[in-house]
């Protein structure tokens, strides 16, 4: 299980997934609207994740 913090909804959830791409599909988050952060570093949607990894999906919608 991977822990994911969804900034836009301000909640932490546990998900069974191997990549951030899968997580975004499960959560119905458009990849265009977030940055994926692991240990304070950016990772790619296809990077393989391990059990207990903690991710953040940072919302990047601009609104002036």
């Amino acid at each position: 299980m991977v822990k994911v913090f969804v900034e836009r909804e301000n909640k932490l959830i546990k998900i069974n997934a191997r990549t951030a791409k899968q997580i975004m599909e499960i959560l119905k988050v458009n990849p265009e609207t977030v940055l994926i952060v692991k240990n304070n570093e950016l990772i790619l949607a296809d990077d393989l994740l391990k059990d207990d990894d903690e991710l953040k999906l940072l919302s990047i919608i601009s609104s002036g």
């Binding site: 952060v37 940072l58 990047i60 919608i61 601009s62």
Partner: protein, 310 residues
């Protein structure tokens, strides 16, 4: 797969390509592309006194950061920052703190103007007494103040943080609303060279996507957190943005194609609309507008006549 240029771990995969870049090479790529935009479209000339419109968000701080670097390097133009405080509690107060801190740390002069001082109340309070949508008030008010105050401060250009996503949305919105004449006033540099009533606008991030800009801001530590305007959810723009993001995810490169197609027809739009809508001066405030009274004064008058709703 490592970075295209070295063996480091990549932080981004560029849109519609298989190119992946590490932190260092992405920052280089981003800054070079912005500088190319500035050069190719002659956004900045020697002796310019540029106001940089900042909200404290990722886009505007990215522009300010890059223009500040360029100014320090070339010393050929001046920059100062200008911010508008609409009065959106829990949002603008936070982003303005970001803006103030950045300007202080980088020794950039910052001017802040508020709706409360200029129009009599905050956006939050205006919305309590009208059914108008937030963006319908905020857009005209903000554009009005930025133009007016830039003239008062002696700027000859105003740089904004509009990125490729913003521009693609505006182009599509103008199509959907049959507002093509407005599109004739888009592009990396806008405004009329010889009309001093309008400050020319420049958009250094014109070819940078929202994702690239956010990535740059994150890597450069320009933001503590990403904030979203509480009123943006209802807007027409929000719907167009969602549609384009869905398209982009399914058909990568869509937004970029909207921009490049638009730039091909922009010269034709300029030619077609060159004699349209003569510019008057508003009878109330004397600011330039297309009708007798400007949109901002119309809104101010309509808000004055509203009684507070409970």
């Amino acid at each position: 797969m490592p970075c295209k240029n070295c063996l480091q771990k990549p932080v981004i995969k560029l849109t519609n390509s298989n190119i992946q870049l590490c932190k260092q090479h992405f920052i280089k790529y981003f800054e070079k592309k912005v500088l190319n935009t500035i050069r190719n479209y002659k956004l900045i000339e020697k002796g310019d006194r540029i106001g940089v419109a900042i909200s404290g968000g990722k886009d505007s701080l990215t522009v300010l950061n890059i223009l500040n670097m360029l100014r320090n390097k070339t010393k050929k133009f001046e920059i100062e920052a200008i911010a508008i405080d609409e009065g959106i509690k829990g949002y603008r107060d936070k982003t303005l703190e970001n803006a103030k801190k950045f300007c202080k740390d980088n020794n950039i002069k910052l001017h802040i103007f508020s709706y409360k001082d200029e129009f009599g109340d905050t956006l939050d309070n205006f919305l309590k007494k009208t059914n108008m949508k937030a963006c319908s008030i905020c857009g005209p008010f903000r554009r009005y103040l930025l133009n007016k105050k830039s003239k008062e401060l002696g700027f000859n250009k105003l740089a904004t943080g509009h990125n490729l996503d913003d521009e693609a949305q505006t182009i599509i919105m103008n199509y959907f609303r049959r507002n093509i004449e407005t599109s004739a006033r888009l592009g990396p540099i806008t405004g009329i060279v010889n009309d001093k009533r309008f400050i020319r606008r420049i958009k250094p991030l014109y070819f940078m996507t929202q994702k690239e800009t956010a990535t740059y801001a994150f890597l450069k530590n320009l933001l503590v957190e990403f904030n979203e305007c509480p009123y943006s959810i209802d807007s027409y723009r929000g719907d167009v943005m969602e549609m384009l993001n869905n398209f982009e995810a399914k058909y990568p490169g869509t937004k970029n194609s909207i921009i490049t197609s638009f730039l091909e027809i922009l010269p034709l739009l300029h030619e077609h609309y060159k004699n349209y809508t003569p510019i008057n001066n508003c009878k109330i405030c004397n600011e330039p507008c297309s009708q007798e009274i400007c949109q901002t004064c119309k809104i101010v008058e309509s808000l004055k006549n509203k009684v507070k709703k409970n």
